[in-house]
């Protein structure tokens, strides 16, 4: 089997800064040889795994565990600070529903823009236009600018485009929970079809039912580290157990305090 995704000892850090620096001040500091000290936050630490072509892998973990960071590395919107990352094949990433849409353009224009951003040529989008429009099922709204759309409508259009890209690897970040029940079923059916066609899938979802339905393997991230990697049911069971333990411990330790887990980078 060929490898679709391989990470070898990958780490990703972010500079913890509330605002971006001033050019004038940084130049002055450089001249005076007093470099600015920056706090560094490690969103991922020493993560290694391989995904074979055709595998469907889910990523679970608490908020701030590094799930979205991991997906953005594979989708190439960010690069690893350390380690090696290899991705083979055409990637269609949906890190956010409606990412790559422009609010002032109409639905049709956005289908073109988004399709081309996902790597299709103009002609390929044109050939699939009718099918995409039918899938999104938005009727006359496709002729109006996207800023008039509801979140659900935007989601439908975004997923309709992704469903027509024929990627080798599809990356989805928490996008399955949007839209009405009928549309969610449609999404799941499309993803099942992708799986049958041998597309590699890599997705983050907070709903265990989605992970269970689509993935045969699950990665569990905790505070940037890969704590478990195995068959879906095993990892989900361990994750559930750990979450319950954590919940009991938190409740026992701080009965009055609210949950306040603000970790950047999620």
């Amino acid at each position: 089997m060929t490898l679709a995704i391989r990470l070898r000892d990958v780490s990703k850090s972010f500079r913890l800064r509330h605002r971006s620096p001033f050019l004038a001040r940084e130049l002055l500091r450089a001249v005076m040889q007093r470099p600015t000290r920056v706090e560094v936050f490690w969103a991922l630490r020493h993560v290694s795994f391989e995904i074979r072509a055709g595998e469907a892998v889910g990523v679970i973990g608490h908020n701030g565990a590094g799930k979205s960071t991991l997906l953005s590395l594979v989708a190439r919107t960010a690069r690893p600070t350390e380690g090696e990352l290899e991705v083979n094949g055409r990637v269609a990433a949906m890190l956010e529903l409606g990412a790559g849409f422009h609010p002032d353009l109409t639905g049709y224009e956005n289908i073109f823009l988004n399709g081309m951003l996902l790597g299709l040529s103009r002609r390929e989008v044109a050939a699939r236009l009718e099918s995409i429009a039918a899938y999104a099922d938005l009727g006359e709204f496709l002729d109006t600018p996207i800023h008039t759309y509801s979140t659900g409508m935007r989601a439908r259009l975004g997923f309709a485009v992704v469903a027509h890209v024929d990627p080798d690897i599809i990356i989805l970040d928490e996008v399955l929970g949007v839209g009405d029940a009928a549309f969610q079923d449609k999404c799941r059916a499309t993803l099942t079809r992708f799986r049958a066609a041998g597309t590699t899938m890599f997705l983050v979802s907070h709903q265990p039912s989605n992970v269970r339905a689509l993935c045969e393997r699950v990665l569990w991230l905790d505070q940037g580290r890969l704590v478990a990697d195995g068959p879906t049911e095993d990892v989900l069971a361990r994750y559930r157990e750990a979450s319950q333990q954590l919940a009991t411990r938190t409740a026992a330790a701080r009965p009055a305090a609210g949950q306040s887990g603000t970790t950047p980078g999620s």
């Binding site: 972010f14 500079r15 605002r19 971006s20 620096p21 001033f22 050019l23 004038a24 940084e26 953005s72 989708a75 190439r76 919107t77 960010a78 690069r79 990637v91 990433a93 890190l95 956010e96 990412a99 790559g100 422009h102 002032d104 353009l105 224009e109 073109f112 823009l113 081309m116 951003l117 996902l118 040529s121 103009r122």
Partner: protein
């Protein structure tokens, strides 16, 4: 090398973004492309009236100004547009992978269209007002390398400013004040040719003045279109060197930081 093939593969995105910008600028305006002409037209009129009536310039002054003002406008629109091209599309940059150079390049292509429209104004003024030289001649061929140099300068400085704005938040203010200085340090409203000889004007002032590549370019445009002569070797030579230097610097800085843009934008 891959950066260029990437950009070519995404040329349709580039064109889509360009037409988006053109549409956004002109869609809501009933007079359409007339607006592209209005601003420089007003400026030329006001400047001509002021300079002819109050500063005692001859009737050829509108022609002297227009041949430098239009290229200068192209430069400032490119610079200010490119500077915010990445930060204005933060959601796209964060969530979708695509060659980032597409964003500043689409600003430049948009402004090439504006330049094309405004060149009509240049021709009109050159026909309507007297010029000291005979313009129709072989020296017009100089326009090809001059336009290429102007374009190269804009690409270099555009890429540089786009990358700097992503990292440093005061870049825009620095650009604003630099442009104010640059307007007077470049021969837009006045003719720099022949002003460097004479008592009290040391020989090193002229090469220093033309270290600003824009000064050499605008002077060359005026030599060709107003005086009907070839550019002076000093002005053109230093403009070429400056353009190459800025081009190399811009490309280097941009592509060195391009993979990390998503970490910086908000």
């Amino acid at each position: 090398m891959q950066t260029f093939t990437d950009a070519y593969r995404f040329r349709h995105v580039l064109l889509a973004l360009t037409s988006k910008q053109l549409k956004a600028q002109y869609r809501s305006m009933s007079l359409g492309f007339f607006w592209a002409l209005l601003n420089p037209l007003v400026m030329i009129t006001v400047l001509s009236v002021v300079f002819i009536w109050f500063f005692g310039q001859g009737a050829e002054h509108p022609a002297r100004v227009v041949v430098a003002l239009i290229p200068y406008n192209f430069f400032t629109y490119c610079l200010t547009g490119c500077a915010t091209s990445i930060t204005n599309n933060s959601s796209l940059v964060k969530k979708v992978w695509f060659p980032r150079q597409i964003l500043p390049l689409s600003i430049i292509v948009t402004n090439i269209v504006h330049l094309g429209i405004q060149s009509v104004l240049v021709v009109a003024v050159l026909v309507a007002f007297p010029t000291p030289g005979h313009i129709l001649g072989l020296q017009l061929l100089w326009l090809v390398p001059l336009l290429a140099l102007l374009l190269g300068l804009c690409v270099g400085i555009g890429l540089l400013s786009a990358a700097l704005t992503v990292v440093f938040r005061d870049t825009q203010y620095i650009i604003q004040s630099t442009l104010t200085v640059l307007f007077w340090m470049s021969p837009v409203l006045y003719d720099s040719g022949g002003r460097f000889a004479g008592p009290g004007r040391p020989g090193w002032v002229e090469p220093l003045y033309y270290l600003n590549p824009l000064a050499g370019l605008l002077d060359s445009f005026r030599r060709v279109l107003f005086w009907g002569a070839s550019p002076t070797p000093l002005a053109l030579g230093l403009a070429t060197l400056g353009t190459l230097a800025f081009g190399a610097l811009g490309i280097r800085v941009f592509f060195r930081h391009e993979p990390d843009f998503a970490d910086y934008v908000k």
